[in-house]
């Protein structure tokens, strides 16, 4: 998982969780595979049809604002998304992504120059984004968060910690 190479899906500012995973499905769809079919339905219907494993979403500021619904992270992860790079993230969605072990990186400089559909390489260990316009560095994730991340998500992390008690 250290190096992620994928094609870019570029979106704008303030993409909210209602368009990432619509509220009308929150109590009727519980199967993650089914959730995946509705990812970004109200923003970009092509996404679920064409997304490939390790593809990367590159977005403007405040990605994932609005409702705390975790399905917004789950439905992206289930589509095999490799990572999200944004100018900034809404905090609950940011946490939800990390908790499903979906890498989320804040790097406004990279977002400005990355083009839609270009191939981008993300090196989590080196803290680098490599794209057509050059190489960008991003700050490493906090240690506690990396622990969750390395366990493969909060569920696995908690399971391990609970079992150790």
């Amino acid at each position: 998982m250290s190096v992620i190479r994928g094609r870019v899906w570029k979106y704008g500012d303030d993409v909210n969780t209602d368009v990432i995973f619509a509220g009308k499905y929150t109590y009727t769809i519980n199967d993650p595979a089914e959730m995946a079919k509705h990812a970004l339905e109200d923003l970009d219907p092509r996404f679920v049809k064409e997304v490939k494993p390790n593809d990367i979403i590159v977005a403007g500021k405040n990605w994932g604002c609005g409702s705390s619904r975790e399905q917004a992270a789950t439905c992206l992860k289930e589509n095999g998304l490799g990572a999200i790079i944004a100018k900034s993230f809404a905090r609950i969605h940011y946490r939800n992504c990390l908790n499903t072990a979906l890498p989320v990186l804040t790097c406004p400089e990279a977002v400005d120059v990355i083009q839609d559909k270009e191939m981008v390489e993300l090196d989590l260990a080196a803290g680098e984004i490599r794209c057509g316009a050059g190489t960008f560095r991003f700050p490493p994730l906090p240690e506690t968060v990396m622990g969750i991340f390395e366990a493969g998500g909060l569920i696995a992390y908690t399971r391990k910690k609970l079992a150790a008690r």
């Binding site: 303030d14 909210n16 209602d18 368009v19 619509a22 509220g23 009308k24 929150t26 109590y27 009727t28 519980n30 109200d42 500021k61 405040n62 604002c65 609005g66 409702s67 705390s68 975790e70 992270a73 900034s88 809404a90 905090r91 609950i92 946490r95 939800n96 908790n99 499903t100 906090p142 240690e143 506690t144 968060v145 998500g153 909060l154 569920i155 992390y157 908690t158 399971r159 910690k161 609970l162 079992a163």
Partner: protein, 422 residues
């Protein structure tokens, strides 16, 4: 150097002398709030290997999102939650009909000054009206709290909002909040602890004050806090049997940003589709036809909100071609509104009054718009598709404006109704 509210309360809860923004702390919440999503959280909890919750006393479980159940799926979801409550011995459980979780938490004396409330709902910031640290978290995080009794939090930077002077009589806390969100933007308080200070804030009653921390979620805030005063302590007197110790920021605390407003310059405003920060003076949108008016939600469904709307609707009728839905935020509000005669006023005016809960706010039931319809709502969110179909437009305003617009069949401020210009 002094500490902000967030730095201080998180230091206390983590057993540290002080904290700084960016620091990661592990804390045990005083209250862990969940709602209809409790059933899904239970599934995650079981995947984590959870059998018994860490401490059943900290849970507050309030069914509100789709209540009473609109479909068999929703009903099954509620059934699973009730089973879980039984199995785990959860004390603070409120079944369908009690009201919207954030309002009920306050009424039940479960959101207390100087305490930490973590909730699997983005508007958990609401608890800040009682001087609590209220923050929304995800479902897996809630399951992890059930299992381990603790969660990591990043100590947030703090934004201090000071509102001087006095709001004019035609301006509500909703107008003030929307004005500020419009100015600072939907990410204006991203990751931040927002503190509300100044005499204009102190002068608001608790019901109006509650609007502020509730809707601060719409600028990305982690939590939102009003320094608790005598109003809070009196309110809690017969509601809480737990001891609490208020936490206040130090006068010399360091804020990432301080913004100041003069309350007297704020005018009635409206949040236009499809973002909460798309705020315009009401006068610019006045006259736009509306198909449905919705009064309710955790933002503006309290007794005072219903009273303000009833004062507008008294002796008037909802315009032909327009529908109005009223949903009290809680059963307590409902009873009080019934005794005050507001419910009679609503029904006589041609409005539909429905049982307490979130109603159509996030598109579950009880008044979903048709394609192409325009809604005016007292809620806190107007995202595209929020109320069911993406082909509808949702405008957010104060209860007074929602009621007046229902009467006129078009967006209007009540003072123009009174002058017969509606």
């Amino acid at each position: 150097m002094g500490q902000t509210f967030a730095e201080k309360i998180l230091a206390e809860k983590a057993g540290l002398a002080k904290t700084v923004p960016g620091q990661i702390v592990e804390i045990s919440p005083d209250i862990a709030l969940s709602h209809d999503n409790t059933a899904a959280i239970r599934g995650i909890f079981e995947k984590m290997g959870g059998v018994k919750v860490f401490n059943p006393k900290v849970h507050a479980i309030i069914l509100d999102h789709a209540t009473p159940a609109p479909t068999t799926e929703h009903a099954e979801n509620h059934r699973i939650v009730r089973e879980f409550v039984q199995e785990q011995g959860v004390e603070h459980f409120f079944d369908v009909g009690r009201g919207v979780c954030h309002q009920v938490l306050v009424e039940e004396g479960l959101a207390l000054p100087g305490e930490v409330v973590l909730g699997s709902d983005s508007h958990t910031t609401h608890a800040g009206v009682m001087g609590a640290f209220g923050a929304g978290i995800g479902r897996s995080e809630m399951a992890s709290i059930w299992a381990l009794g603790e969660l990591w939090l990043r100590v947030p930077e703090s934004l201090k909002i000071i509102v001087h002077g006095k709001l004019s009589p035609s301006v509500t806390a909703k107008d003030l909040a929307l004005h500020i969100i419009g100015e600072l933007g939907s990410d204006g308080g991203l990751y931040m602890s927002v503190e509300w200070h100044g005499e204009a804030i102190e002068a608001l009653d608790l019901s109006q004050q509650a609007v502020l921390p509730n809707i601060t979620a719409e600028m990305g805030a982690k939590n939102s806090y009003i320094p608790p005063d005598q109003k809070v302590f009196s309110f809690l007197k017969d509601r809480s049997n737990r001891q609490y110790e208020p936490v206040y920021p130090d006068p010399d605390a360091s804020y990432t940003k301080i913004v100041e407003y003069d309350a007297s310059t704020i005018v009635p405003v409206i949040a236009c589709p499809h973002t909460v920060d798309n705020v315009k003076p009401l006068s610019e949108i006045a006259g736009l036809h509306i198909d449905q008016a919705f009064l309710g939600t955790c933002t503006n469904g309290r007794l005072e909100d219903l009273g303000a709307a009833a004062a507008v609707l008294k002796g008037r009728r909802i315009a032909p071609g327009t529908r109005m839905i009223v949903i009290p935020a809680s059963s307590e509000v409902y009873l009080d509104a019934l005794r005050a005669g507001y419910i009679e006023t609503f029904v006589a005016a041609g409005a539909m009054v429905q049982s307490p809960g979130c109603g159509p706010c996030m598109g579950n039931h009880m008044g979903i718009p048709a394609v192409g319809e325009v809604i005016i709502s007292s809620a806190n969110r107007n995202f595209q598709g929020r109320m069911g179909t993406r082909e509808s437009e949702v405008y957010l305003a104060s209860p007074e404006v929602v009621a007046a617009s229902a009467v006129a069949g078009a967006i209007i401020h009540p003072r123009y109704l009174q002058e017969g210009r509606g």
